[in-house]
Symmetry: C2
Subunit: 350 residues, 2 copies
DNA sequence: TTGAAAGCGCTAACAA
DNA sequence: TTGTTAGCGCTTTCAA
């Protein structure tokens, strides 16, 4: 090690200040000086010391990304998209994983990213009042991805989908097919990191039922904890009822896949005996021929990053961005087998 | 902001040096002084400036992780496990994604992590000679995850599985079931970032065939590019042969899942018509009842992180760690059906 | 065990 | 356009 800005300055025959300006591409440097500086830096294999640069400038050239995981599909996609945008803009992504309540607590009390990042992207962790305050006190731009709690939405930028509308579309699809007894496998709040999505999607589910004049049976609303295994168990629970639902809305594709497995294992067929619709359009959904509600995943990461970069550049937090979802009809949904009074046209995907 | 170490020193009635020592838990501080410092720091809500700290100490408290992606299952798992270990040890993970050759080139010429990290973990990117040199010149510990090229293995620590042995186990399983015509869906080198895994797994495949006295038919060795879609197409290619193999070894579970989809779409049954074995034990493998060769994923991330932390603490690079794989027999493999005539299967255009 | 003070390597304000 | 120079906020000798 050891090549400093002084060495470059000496070699280029200019001052360190000029070297600094030239290397950062600032405008007020003569072409000649710039050329000499670049040449000298190259010859000496010079790189700035990020810590010295940060110390002097106050900029960290890093963005913190907080996510519940990176191993699950959705988060991996979002983080990947964000990293790309950040690196392009010269920022490094610092990853902070929050896999359980304990770590979440520590993250927001210790704030390990304090003074280490120029901005913070929070993925799928609706902040409570305390957390919002803590993060706000960092004094850096914050962008939230996924649904947020009121109270933080006014202070931070956010990118999300409309979970209520998405769920509504899913259940409307089942209703349009003629289903009247529709179960739901929810994400579940308890041990998870209390996303708001489960509640929002439940709202959409109920709205759809209500709009169709269908009763809401709480016994048909079971929890799957967002996992495949949870989906399997939840479906088993539904099938064990004296009168199982003819269709099931799973709040995530992972749970839907679990549900399909249980249905198959029970010797039933989908959609003949039970229809299943998921949520996300997971990359594997197609393999299960799973009807689902697609959400733009990559785009959420990209937009969040773009917002962040804009805010770092001085832009205000802007309005919350709500991206559209899209119904993807595949083969796991169809008209109910028995008891359908009016026979709806059979959908193409079989 | 503005609370500096000086403020804490004043409030605690000690020097800044003592504050620094006390806050970092160094031994040579009296209990009394330490107590006062901690109290003062707490009251003032003081946090060190990482850049100032780094500038003065030379330590960055950050580890760079380079991976081809974080959106794919394997990488997400590894990165997640590593982040956990690093955070526990007080290090932040800086993520560098390398999704194509262009970025890979830039990563190793620009070395954006230069001087920003205390160590580098390289996941599934066997470094060529130039890259090895470039990374070595950083003068920081390097740990590689996944197979490596000779030439880098002597200089860096590494954690991996034995791909040759793993593939051998997979194909041996098929042979033991009575299969004699065994196809392979390989990972493919071309457009990807030239992992060595595809070649190693091919070697294991060939060894197994050779050991059983079976011929190697190059026409049964097709590429699937590590993706689901690639697996689908590759399987279609195999089924289109006048005499399709009775069993297929897919070099990844993702490709195996694609293969299963094609088999199903062709109206064939698994394992009755074709057996399929994968590699990885992807979290979704169970849902497909997929027989596979499991590799420890989380553990590779953990061990790599542990190695890294040890090396940062001064330990030498240590011997390469090779973790065992494990055959997981599920429902997609079985004995070959006795077939008299090779009936052309109806393939689905795909 | 403690404190004084010299850096660490750069950026930015100011002067030229 | 360029150079001078005072910080930026710590860590780490070295001396006490």
């Amino acid at each position: 090690m050891g090549v400093g800005i002084g060495d470059v300055a000496r070699r280029a025959g200019v001052s360190t200040a000029t070297v600094s300006r030239a290397l950062r591409g600032l405008p007020n440097v003569s072409d000649d000086a710039r050329r000499r500086v670049l040449a000298a830096a190259l010859e000496l294999d010079y790189v700035v010391s990020p810590s010295a640069s940060s110390l002097a400038s106050g900029r960290m050239a890093a963005i913190g990304v907080v996510a519940p995981s990176v191993a699950r599909w959705f988060f991996g996609q979002v983080v990947g998209a964000a990293e790309d945008a950040f690196r392009r803009a010269g920022y490094t992504l610092m990853l902070y994983l929050v896999e359980d309540q304990e770590r979440r607590r520590r993250l927001f009390t210790d704030l390990p990213m304090r003074r280490r990042v120029d901005g913070l992207v929070v993925v799928s962790l609706p902040l409570d009042r305390t957390e919002t305050d803590a993060v706000h006190r960092l004094g850096i731009p914050v962008v939230q991805v996924g649904s947020v709690r009121s109270g933080s939405v006014e202070r931070f930028a956010s990118v999300r989908i409309d979970d209520i509308a998405g769920a509504r579309v899913a259940v409307d699809h089942l209703i349009a097919l003629g289903h009247a007894e529709i179960g739901m496998i929810a994400g579940g709040l308890q041990e998870r990191l209390d996303f708001t999505a489960p509640e929002d999607r439940r709202t959409g589910y109920r709205h759809a039922l209500a709009a169709a004049g269908l009763p809401v049976d709480p016994a048909l609303d079971v929890e799957g904890g967002y996992t495949v295994a949870g989906g399997e168990q939840a479906m088993a629970q539904l099938l064990a009822r004296p009168r199982p639902p003819t269709a099931v809305f799973a709040q995530s594709d992972e749970m839907a896949m679990g549900a399909l497995t249980t249905i198959r294992a029970a010797g039933l067929r989908c959609p003949d005996d039970v229809s299943v619709i998921g949520f996300d359009d997971h990359e594997m959904a197609r393999l299960f021929d799973l009807t689902t509600v697609a959400q733009p995943v990559h785009e959420q990461g990209e937009l969040a990053a773009a917002q962040m970069l804009a805010m770092i550049a001085g832009a205000p937090a802007g309005e919350p961005v709500v991206l559209p979802t899209r119904l993807v009809v595949r083969g796991t949904t169809g008209p109910p087998a028995r008891r359908s009074v009016a026979k709806p046209p059979r959908t193409a995907a079989g």
